[in-house]
Symmetry: C2
Subunit: 223 residues, 2 copies
Amino acid sequence: MESTQLLDILGNKNRRKILQLLSSRPCYVGEITERIGLGAKAVLGHLDMLEQIGMIRADTNERRRKYYQITKNLKLEVFVSPYSYTVETSTVHQHPTEDGIEEPFPVRAGDAKAADALKELNRKLLELESRRRGLAEQQRNIEGKMTDVMAQCIDWLHEVAQNYMEADILMTLIKEPQNRRSLSMNMGLPEYFIEPHIQSLIERGVLHERHINNRQLLTLIDG
Amino acid sequence: MESTQLLDILGNKNRRKILQLLSSRPCYVGEITERIGLGAKAVLGHLDMLEQIGMIRADTNERRRKYYQITKNLKLEVFVSPYSYTVETSTVHQHPTEDGIEEPFPVRAGDAKAADALKELNRKLLELESRRRGLAEQQRNIEGKMTDVMAQCIDWLHEVAQNYMEADILMTLIKEPQNRRSLSMNMGLPEYFIEPHIQSLIERGVLHERHINNRQLLTLIDG
């Protein structure tokens, strides 16, 4: 799924509520309208949209009642700063379950045994959550450092660029080496418009064309 | 800033374009309308909205031309799966730099030394980016494991919960121990509605009330 699609989806309060509700368990349409406090027609519209992009799926139970469930494990990350705007969507892969924990289900255990198993899983979950938080913290730290470095880049850009267009080209390539086409897409400007500036930057030894991972890319970094 | 505000902001294509543009450098209103390809009135409406929630700031240069720049370092993370829906916004801290960004910069002469400095900073930036990616990968890995554990929790929940309401309460508390008020808010249901179920779960030894970080929380995990 594209990040822009996901942002469009999440930009609506009621769709967020629906996803939150379905993330606790699969729900019938009636339950959804009741909990969201919205008319059936509006709810069905949102459900349709979510189904069409493949975020949720509809099934019917043995009594032909329709219910919905989330089908994806999606992670969306947006970072906005004075120097960067990045949006990434990735699929989180569920692993085949590890060691002994998985039991071919439902073994009708007693209430007490099930409660113990649940407790144990809960401990594990909270431990994973604390590791996740630790990594997120480290990541934010690095993102802070990256923002610093970008701020310093801006200072030097003033010395190197001979006009705004060159400055924009360099700032885009500093963030990620890329070819002319993706540069033109990222800058929202036609290739013929940026080409003379690229040529000038190459001639002055500021930009280089290099083969990186089998692709011919523009970058500030030479050999 | 609240995550819901940020999602509302990012749910609009043109606001995303504006943020992307301003993330390359501060811009005058004229530049923005030109690059976004939208009428001045619409652009000003979006800029107003972004300014009001404090994401961008307007300044005027010595010729009284108004320009905008991004003022925040924000990170938004959304995770959606069949078992969880989490949205987190955090501020990424930049280390203080001597001079922040000023107005759209005046262009100065080219300089070979500046190009070298820029190259060096670019190397640093790409190295930080690769570390960031590594951490993001590890984090997704853990999120995958968490999804696994939640799937297992669901299996056992069926054995423990005597009705849907109990199942919903347990699933919410498995993700995060919390008090009655936040539980009722998260579930979108009044406290008096969930209280009898909480009582029953406590009496059956499934739920516990514990002091954690000076707060009285409901949790599945005992002592």
